[in-house]
């Protein structure tokens, strides 16, 4: 199989043809849709375990960071914990509230789940491991990820619970407002690569350097906006576990709840995959820049006995690099979750509208200038890094904010001698 020409779909098609089916069904299986369907099912079978084990990894990592062990009793190292939980959820009673809108209540977990998994159709895990590399891939992803809001709103509204509805409104407000910086941040790499296709974006990064090195500010902006878009801590006010019970899916139990839960983790993995593809060079191996390493890899490939194995390894090796990067980013998301407290809703909105949107807009403008006048991306990288490092230096040099002085409640004795100047609270976003 020649490299970099086939996609997962064509591979599936090829496999179906090779199965030697009877002529009556062969017509059905040679239809172009059959290959897409097969690839989609294959992908689902790959993504679902990854998402399931992302939950296990989150619990272990959170445990370790909190000086606990995390789930380690079910199966070796607790690996069977999530399947056990899923089985438990499957066998639970499927409760639909009496006054709920039954149809919408039943459909909305599906909307959220399907929209979370639809993204993967165009996410390339390797040069050939993609179901369908759309030439408007980035637009498609931005469109599909915003479907989640509809599912969440429907879920809350149909469950006929006022608290769920309030949570869904908060969620809708959050997700709609973070859609803007998310789309703006997506445009940065797109402008640099002059392509909306994810494979095109990766190809541009392999030839021209990772976009995280050229646009570090855009990367941070994208990461924050994507976390908020997917309701991940510290932006998880939608289903703040420790404050409100479950937010929009409070009335859901059993497998419907599991669908919401899985969709959440699928979204987290999507963020990691997209960040990898857009900013971290996709399946580009940074070690191959060291002279001699690529030749070494090629030699190792050539030593494989069968040509079939060589082709397989040539396809799977980039996927391994891609997944390594994606899993690192997933771990960073969980790491943030273990570290940061939840933001208030006003802080959330303030951060989105007052910081992220102006930041990404300004970045877009600068990038646009560089692209329009054909200036070197190296200069753009210089500008970005100078601003970022200046920010960090300014932030690190800032003296510690004094604790706010207590304001005196009228009618109570003064806390300190009258006339003592109260230190003003410095700086608040």
């Amino acid at each position: 199989m020649p490299h970099y020409q086939y996609t997962l779909t064509t591979v599936c098609q090829w496999l179906l043809e090779k199965l030697g089916l009877p002529p009556a069904t062969a017509a059905v299986f040679s239809h172009p849709l059959a290959g897409v369907l097969g690839a989609a099912i294959l992908l689902f079978l790959v993504i679902l375990p990854i998402v399931t084990y992302a939950i296990w990894w989150l619990r272990r990592l959170l445990g370790w960071m909190q000086s606990r062990l995390g789930p380690n009793r079910v199966g070796p190292a607790g690996l069977l914990q999530t399947p056990a939980d899923a089985l438990k959820l499957l066998t639970k009673e499927d409760i639909i509230p009496a006054l709920a809108d039954r149809w919408v209540f039943t459909i909305s977990p599906g909307i959220v789940f399907v929209s979370a998994f639809l993204v993967y159709v165009t996410l390339p895990f390797g040069p050939a491991l993609v179901v369908k590399d759309l030439n408007v891939g980035v637009v498609y992803i931005a469109a599909i990820t915003s479907l989640t809001v509809i599912g969440i709103m429907l879920a809350a509204w149909s469950s006929n619970n006022k608290y769920a509805l309030i949570a869904a409104f908060r969620s809708a407000g959050q997700m709609v407002s973070y859609e803007v910086p998310l789309a703006l941040a997506l445009l940065g790499p797109v402008m640099l690569a002059q392509s909306l296709s994810l494979k095109g974006l990766v190809a541009a990064q392999i030839s021209g350097g990772w976009f995280v090195l050229i646009q570090p500010i855009m990367f941070l902006g994208y990461f924050c906006a994507a976390l908020a878009e997917n309701n991940v801590t510290p932006f998880d006010i939608v289903e703040a576990e420790s404050e409100i019970v479950a937010g929009f899916h409070i009335e859901y139990s059993g497998m419907k709840f599991a669908l919401f839960f899985l969709a959440e983790f699928a979204n987290t993995f999507t963020v990691a995959c997209l960040s990898t593809l857009l900013f971290l060079g996709g399946w580009h191996n940074p070690l191959s820049l060291i002279p001699g390493v690529s030749a070494l890899g090629q030699a190792a490939l050539d030593r494989l006995p069968a040509p079939f194995l060589r082709d397989l390894a040539a396809q799977l090796w980039p996927a391994a690099i891609f997944f390594a990067k994606a899993f690192f980013l997933v771990s960073v998301v969980f790491w943030l979750r273990a570290t940061l407290p939840r933001v208030r809703i006003d802080q959330l909105m303030g951060f989105g509208w007052k910081v992220l949107i102006p930041l990404t807009l300004a970045n877009l403008l600068v990038t646009g200038l560089f692209v329009a006048f054909g200036w070197s991306p190296l200069a753009l990288a210089g500008v970005n890094w100078v601003i970022l490092l200046a920010c960090l230096a300014l932030g690190a040099a800032r003296r510690r904010v004094p604790p706010p002085t207590r304001t005196r409640v009228p009618g109570t004795p003064a806390l300190r001698a009258p006339g003592a100047a109260s230190t003003p609270v410095e700086g608040s976003l």
Binding site: M65, C391, A393
Partner: protein, 200 residues
Amino acid sequence: MIRILQDIGYTLVSIGKGMAVTLVNLFRRKQTVQYPSQELLLPPSFRGGLHFDEEKCIVCELCEKACPVPGSRTEWTIEMFHHIGENKKRQLDEFFIDYSTCINCYLCVDVCPTDALVPGSSLEHAEIDALAAYDRSRLIYGKDMLGRMPRSDARGSFERAHEHVKGGYMPAPKPLSEEEQAAGERTPAAEEARQAGKAG
């Protein structure tokens, strides 16, 4: 403008600091003791199920008088029976503690003049094959069963108990230097050296 950039930078730096803390904790030793499979290292002052030493008991019945809780079958949670033996001394016949009502207040231990009743190191009474019972009356232990309960100081020491937290949040106790051991107490000079060692 500069202020906003500074705020952003300050946020990033603070998040970095916070993440450094969680990262350090990721590699620290975990405080969890997986109890049934791992041994719990108990300090000698651990106050578990009571150990009763029949030899030391002088049958003064102070423990029975101190006991504040009525038992399920007996008048008080501690109940003892004796007869007057030779030399007109009291001879212990039986000593009961009703563990279905005992609140582990250790008032009986406090009043015991001969340390016949001491706190044990038993967590789940597995030592006397009484992990759980279907009937409350099965939780009334006699003197033989109580005698088989391990004494608290028979198991573990403060150093061993400290093993749990070693490498964790609590700093391990610093061993005394030779001069300190020779002096038998902490001299100001040694204390100063200790402080310097801690700082360095």
